[in-house]
Symmetry: C2
Subunit: 484 residues, 2 copies
């Protein structure tokens, strides 16, 4: 018998693996006697105790049988040459679902492994968290505090009651939304809201309306569930109600700060939108992803505050107000869909992480959260001003910049040129160490206006200045800006 | 104009709500002038500044228009009597999906809000976490350590690389499973594994095989996705391969410790099961929910260690080895389905919570996790012995107890009687402050054997003794045990 150790891990484990392989591959036939431990030990240059221990384990697992006085024998476990052995690992052993086929096509490898920006000097990617040492230490204190009072049992699948109460209080004061803790569902980030909505509200083939351009993650999840995604035109005032389709099951809107154009939907359009939804028996999701960070004027009340017949599902996220690693957000659910969403969340994962929920509830109750929001808004304002100033100085001839007065990003539209020009610029910039991203992936129509989506949250003003000087150089080097 | 404040929250917010309602309900008509601030203030008994601030806000939001020198006017926002106002909130505003209808029927209210056991003196519910001060303080240290090094950006959706490495090392040493970090997907608990598998592997109407009895959470999620759930018989040695159906897309098995009977699937049946799956092109999910806690003999290698053609998806949970509030588990994915599961996880929630993953990676790397497992196994052994002893002493005439030699629960089968007898006993016991649970919900067939599922992890031995004395009294009081 030929037994070879693979050299990985402890000798004992190596020997067990090797013996199992020999038995399963019928190199050790059923009923045959295994080598005496003494011989095998000397053959392999290992201790006899190791061999005995391995034989013991294989007996316990049923691979070997011990007969008193005559050593160990290979058990008959159907170890005729296994049919499983005869085929090499095939590409797909059994069929995958329609969901899988769509999800694989949509996510397409590149999107899954996460960001690859570690080697960039400056990264203007949207969604990177703000560097914020004050928040880091405040949050550390909250986590440590919460961990002293940690619960060990399953969480409330709907969300920690104390957190849901804080969310209601916050929404009433800051977003004009009236909700009770019973209406709140705590979720693992905005993405899960779209996933739950796909399951609870949509069957395959149903129509979903997205603003065009829009948040790509929403499009991807709805499409993976087999929904038909329709775009609705956006202008300088946001979604154009007249462009809404004749029929749809669900529309996702960003009235407080259209993503990515930054438009603020005026009240008359809000009312038109609600009327359209009522007429079409269509659900509305209001994605209020960064409605908090408004630098001029007061934050406006949410669309949800106008919702009289329980048609608007409001989504709040902590990925922008705090940071993405937290993986927490919430939904405000009309009564008619509350039970279905709670059931879907409970079926999916039994509720979001308890410790962070407890930390967040206390952070909100103690006033720390809103103190942080005020400081963050100041810091974002300085970054936005640096971004606006830099764009005007280095890129105004090439890009038209929309000042959105809110949020963590700006859009810059190419004055003349194509998507290909933007891609060429972004590719060149990346070689120079500048992470630059086009708006194209956020559009359904290839005919949408070419431009850049510029995130400014993650960089201090001085870095933004430097990044935009570098952008200016890239514009000249790519010929988009004539050299003077 | 009649304006009434609702008395909830700040005056300013109350006034804004009241004015918005009046405008939306056309009590304040478009183009009409709003009352002078001075008058409204005196009428409502609030300060004039509050009224002015509210008017300002309503202007910013587009509800009012200011005309220089002549005060504020109601804007025309389509505030003809809104159609939304005319219908009272209906039960369901727009249709829900087929998933919702199934999920609502399956979860049926009672299961969602979580456990209601706070008022019980002794609770023998399965799945309650072990009371464990040593673990609590060790985990607190890990969380605090991890929070000092916290990442703020989106996590790796597949799971923290350091944690995936630890899981591979652990699986190789303790479960005989060979995997690389690329094969591991970190998830938010076992429940999410079943949810992801439903989406990735199944279309509505596909057949899923569950052992009967089985873990109810698995049945619920598969059924909510519209799968056809088939049971396969279980005997004292676990799943009976001869009883497997002619065709299925997926089978979920618990070979290391059948849930809930506690049977250990012998090697020959494991091989038969794998051969059946190969012949039927059927996926297998191995739910190794508590394979670690084995009190006699060594832990056996997982079924996954025999998987030669990438057919077995292995699920590990930290809800039993650590505690449920952690909401972390992992899957070992064959290469052919790795991308599809990673895409499904990424689409669902962008990855599980980073902080706990980092804490767990260090807890495992430092040896703390396995030290905890050794201590927990000792503690569980004492609790199991108390449970076995108590059952023999107080209930042996009524129940046949299966000593499973592993895990955190025992099953006790009614020697003679019906499911109704068990339910009656459980109801009576609950009135006496003893939480007692029947196995009936874990079976597909109503003809399955009646019995109890007795969790012992959460109670110290003295409490288990007392609980079983109370059980004996309940048996006499319900007439299941003749009074002597």
């Amino acid at each position: 018998m030929y037994i070879e150790l693979d050299g990985q891990g402890a000798r004992y484990a190596q020997l067990i693996r090797a013996l199992k392989a020999a038995i399963l591959e019928s190199r050790l036939a059923p009923g045959s006697r295994v080598p005496a431990s003494r011989h095998l030990a000397s053959e392999l240059g290992i201790s006899r105790n190791t061999v005995l221990a391995a034989y013991d384990q294989l007996q316990a697992e049923g691979f070997l049988l011990a007969r008193v006085g005559s050593g160990s024998f290979v058990a008959d476990i159907g170890n005729r040459p296994l049919p499983l052995r005869q085929q090499a690992a095939p590409a797909v052993v059994a069929p995958l679902s329609a969901f899988s086929r769509r999800a694989l096509a949509i996510s397409d490898g590149a999107l899954i492994p996460g960001r690859q920006h570690r080697d960039l000097r400056f990264n203007l990617q949207y969604g990177l968290p703000m560097t914020n040492p004050a928040l880091a230490s405040a949050w550390r204190r909250e986590i440590n505090r919460a961990s002293e009072r940690a619960e060990f049992d399953y969480p409330d699948a709907q969300g920690l009651p104390a957190l849901r109460e804080q969310i209601c209080d916050y929404l009433r004061r800051r977003r004009g939304v009236e909700a009770t803790p019973e209406n709140i569902l705590v979720i693992s980030g905005t993405q899960q809201a779209f996933a739950l909505a796909s399951r609870v509200l949509l069957d395959a083939g149903d129509r979903v309306v997205l603003e065009d351009p829009h948040y790509r993650g929403a499009r991807q999840i709805f499409a993976s569930y087999g929904a038909r995604v329709l775009g609705v035109r956006v202008d300088a005032e946001g979604l154009v109600p007249a462009a809404l389709p004749k029929q749809a099951s669900l529309a996702v809107v960003t009235p407080s700060h259209q993503f990515p154009t930054g438009a603020l939907l005026p009240l008359s359009r809000r009312v038109e939108l609600l009327e359209w939804a009522t007429a079409k028996r269509c659900w509305l999701i209001e994605d209020d992803y960064d409605g908090e960070f408004r630098f001029g004027g007061r934050p406006l009340a949410a669309l949800k505050s106008l919702d009289r017949d329980g048609r608007v599902i409001y989504i709040g996220s902590y990925s922008k107000t705090l940071f993405p690693a937290l993986r927490l957000g919430y939904m405000v659910l009309p009564e008619s869909v509350g039970r279905a969403f709670r059931a879907a969340k409970w079926l999916e994962d039994r509720g979001s992480n308890t410790l962070e929920q407890a930390a967040l509830a206390h952070f909100m109750a103690s006033g720390g959260f809103e103190r942080h929001l005020r400081r963050a808004a100041q810091s974002l304002r300085a970054r936005r001003n640096a971004m606006l100033g830099g764009l005007r100085k280095h890129a105004a001839q090439v890009f038209e910049v929309v000042d959105s007065n809110a949020g963590m990003h700006l859009t810059a539209w190419l004055r003349s040129g194509s998507h290909a020009d933007c891609e060429r610029l972004a590719a060149h910039a990346r070689e120079r160490g500048l992470g630059l991203y086009t708006v194209a992936p956020y559009s359904l129509q290839s005919g949408a206006r070419p431009g850049l989506l510029l995130g400014y949250a993650a960089l201090p003003p001085a870095d933004i200045d430097a990044a935009l000087r570098l952008l200016g150089r890239c514009l000249r080097e790519t010929g988009l800006l004539a050299n003077r």
